[in-house]
């Protein structure tokens, strides 16, 4: 039996997630692992927007903010389980992406970047200033999802970080599976045709505006889920989750790893989430070093770290 590229990518991802803990010296690394997987989920969404459809967004953390605060606020005000907060956040983000996507996606290049940037900053400002609802810049606590309690009930004996690592592993595999499926579907082919040339795609009968919007909404849902999950993991959320820097981190991860492939972007998320932990000693120089790494990769490996390394590997073989 011959496996498709999609299946290989998923198997590789599953094996890496399953085997990585063997190299973890302490359970702190599970926490970093869980964060990598959460960022991995967000950048998988960005691959659909950047890599498939060829659009840019500098404001996706805005959707993470909506997801994060939905997970925090909905259980408090409606008295429901936090999982409904997560779902409601995703629906809200999708709706908002649909509304703003129509006008915003008419813009191209820099203009699109600036418009999405503005959206992210707006969400950040609202979360910061509506202090009576969101707790303002000090943030607010988030009800537990109950994963730890579930694991204890099953007698697995895992701590919070470990539970979340395995849970996020499963979530990311599902997210990656859906994104990879989309790639080879008719919708995915239409999206990729936009990436190459909108005019050509249009003349071939692809509804350009609709497909751009589809990609935007899907990626917003991924970002929203990542925001909710991060809030639930921490049991706490601050407006930083919707901050400009958070958007930029995601874009950097996606582009560094390789915006065209899901695995590449997740690889980028892993590198850029783990690196600051390795660089804590050089905290003052962290941004400088990240910038330097980014520049070197962009100059010498314009397709991104992952595709370039994969190519090199094939050549050596």
């Amino acid at each position: 039996m011959r496996l498709s590229g999609k299946a290989w990518a998923l198997i590789a991802l599953a094996v890496i997630i399953a085997l990585a803990p063997l190299a973890f010296p302490s359970s702190f690394y599970y926490r970093v692992g869980a964060l990598i997987l959460i960022n991995g989920l967000a950048v998988t969404g960005l691959v659909i927007l950047f890599g498939y459809a060829g659009q840019i967004s500098l404001g996706h953390a805005g959707f993470a903010g909506i997801g994060g605060y939905a997970a925090a606020l909905i259980p408090i005000h409606l008295g429901v389980h936090p999982v409904f907060g997560l779902i409601a956040g995703a629906i809200l983000s999708a709706g908002l992406a649909f509304l703003i996507g129509r006008p915003v996606l008419r813009l191209k290049g820099y203009y699109l970047a600036v418009a999405t940037l503005g959206f992210g900053i707006l969400v950040y400002l609202v979360l910061n200033n509506e202090a009576q609802l969101t707790g303002g810049p000090d943030g607010m606590s988030v009800e537990r999802l109950g994963l730890r309690a579930l694991s204890d009930a099953l007698g697995l004996g895992l701590n919070t970080s470990q539970v979340w690592y395995w849970f996020m592993g499963v979530v990311l595999l599902i997210g990656a599976y859906l994104a990879l499926n989309l790639f080879t579907s008719p919708t995915g082919r239409a999206l990729r045709s936009l990436h190459d040339s909108e005019v050509a795609a249009g003349t071939l009968g692809v509804d350009v505006a609709r497909y751009k919007l589809t990609a935007f909404v899907i990626s917003a849902v991924y970002a929203s889920l990542a925001g909710s999950l991060q809030a639930l993991l921490n049991g706490f959320v601050t407006p930083d989750v919707a901050g400009f820097l958070h958007s930029i981190q995601w874009v950097t991860m996606t582009v560094l790893g390789g915006a065209g492939t899901v695995l590449g972007a997740i690889f980028g998320a892993a590198v850029l989430t783990a690196l600051p932990q390795a660089l804590t000693v050089f905290k003052e120089y962290e941004h400088m070093m990240l910038g330097l790494i980014m520049m070197v990769v962009m100059v010498f490996m314009p397709a991104g770290l992952f595709p370039s390394l994969a190519k090199l590997f094939r050549r050596v073989r």
């Binding site: 702190f28 926490r31 810049p137 000090d138 921490n234 706490f236 601050t238 003052e284």
Partner: protein
């Protein structure tokens, strides 16, 4: 019989292992040394490093040296949470000092609570210790206390109708809420309630509106950064002849420099660190504040700050608690911190209890007035 003795030996060994002997004492810290809150984190870290050096040079705690394991969170709560997990799981610290801001403190506190590690925060808000979390303590005064101090002074001057002009940042909005909340207890009426954004460069409209409100007798400005300095300048430019109160958030020489001439006559609640030379010889805080100022300024060649003082107090409370506990057992240290009473620090006199994990009262604040560009103590 052999089985029995083996069991006894094994049990004894287990007991030995369960009682953690004092080895190197690992104290962790997470502070915002870079980023928007670096003006807090920087003097805090410097103070901690200076004091660790001092204690180790004097032979450590009960003969064991302190190892300070520090991480910088850059003011980001998510990052702080990761670093807190790292301190607990990877570095296996026995106690933690840190959390420069309220947001960071509230984000990391559950990590230490879950692991049973005593944690002393250096952040302001009352929500850190109310409701009481058995594992979480704090040394700075709260913004609520600052409001109470200001209102007490207003009462003494026979003033009761005020206008509020607050910054929209975390500090300003939190203090505004606390002031509105306690105003009633002091018979204070808030007749005007204006705000400004952290980067606004002109507050004349808000001040004009406050000054035009009937019956206003004083103006209070919760906020920090450059906003309060601009408010003070505009206040003087408009020629408003009312008492102006600033908060402890601008209790530093930098404020006088920024506000210049117009700072004269402004009152604010501040800590003893600001007025070291004005303290009476017999003031209970005189010796500790002088010693800290001299040590800090001798070490770093920069003026001492209120914020470093928070770290100073947290460190000594932690060290004496570890000394009293005589072990690195979290519960023993926690109880020793909780039993801190009558200890005079740079910030004030600490009287902790199971219900009060800060232990300061209003005497920790001094009402200061700026006269001729310098601090004076209001009696």
């Amino acid at each position: 019989m052999r089985l029995f003795s083996k069991t006894v030996v094994a049990g004894g060994l287990l007991l030995l292992a369960a009682d953690p002997a004092l080895a190197e004492i690992r104290i962790g810290s997470v502070l915002s040394v870079t980023g928007p809150a670096s003006f807090l984190g920087d003097p805090e870290l410097k103070t901690l490093e200076m004091l660790v050096e001092e204690v180790n040079a004097a032979g450590g705690i009960n003969g064991e040296e302190i190892a300070l394991i520090h991480y910088d969170d850059g003011g980001d709560a998510n990052q702080a949470r990761t670093l807190a997990t790292r301190l607990v799981e990877d570095d296996e610290v026995i106690a933690v000092i840190g959390g420069s801001t309220t947001g960071v403190t509230l984000a990391v506190a559950p990590v230490f609570e879950e692991a049973g590690i005593p944690f002393i925060s250096l952040a302001g808000a009352v929500s850190i210790i109310n409701p009481v979390n058995p594992w979480v303590f704090k040394t700075p005064h709260t913004d609520r206390m600052a409001c109470e101090k200001i209102f007490t002074d207003l009462n003494a001057r026979g003033l009761s109708q005020i206008g509020l002009i607050s910054g929209q940042g975390g500090f300003g909005s939190s203090m505004r809420e606390q002031c509105l909340d306690v105003a009633g207890d002091f018979g204070i009426e808030v007749l005007a309630d204006e705000t400004y954004a952290p980067r606004d460069s002109d507050m004349t409209p808000q001040l004009t509106s406050i000054a035009a409100t009937d019956g206003i007798e004083a103006v209070v400005n919760p906020g920090f950064g450059q906003g309060p300095a601009i408010v003070t300048r505009n206040f003087a430019q408009l020629g408003i002849e009312l008492p102006l109160y600033q908060s402890h958030g601008v209790a530093s020489d930098a404020f006088i420099e920024l506000a210049g001439e117009s700072a004269n006559g402004v009152r604010l609640p501040g800590s003893a660190t600001l007025i070291v030379d004005l303290l009476a010889e017999d003031d209970p805080q005189h010796d500790v504040v002088t010693a800290y100022r001299d040590a800090f300024e001798g070490h770093f060649d920069e003026p001492v700050s209120t914020f470093g003082g928070y770290a100073h107090d947290a460190f000594w409370i932690m060290v004496s608690a570890i000394e009293t506990a005589g072990s690195t057992d979290g519960e023993a240290i926690r109880q020793a911190i909780e039993a801190t009473t009558g200890w005079v620090g740079v910030t004030g006199e600490f009287n902790m209890s199971p219900e009060d994990h800060m232990g300061l009262d209003l005497s920790a604040f001094r009402m200061l007035e700026i006269v001729d560009g310098d601090w004076t103590l209001v009696e």
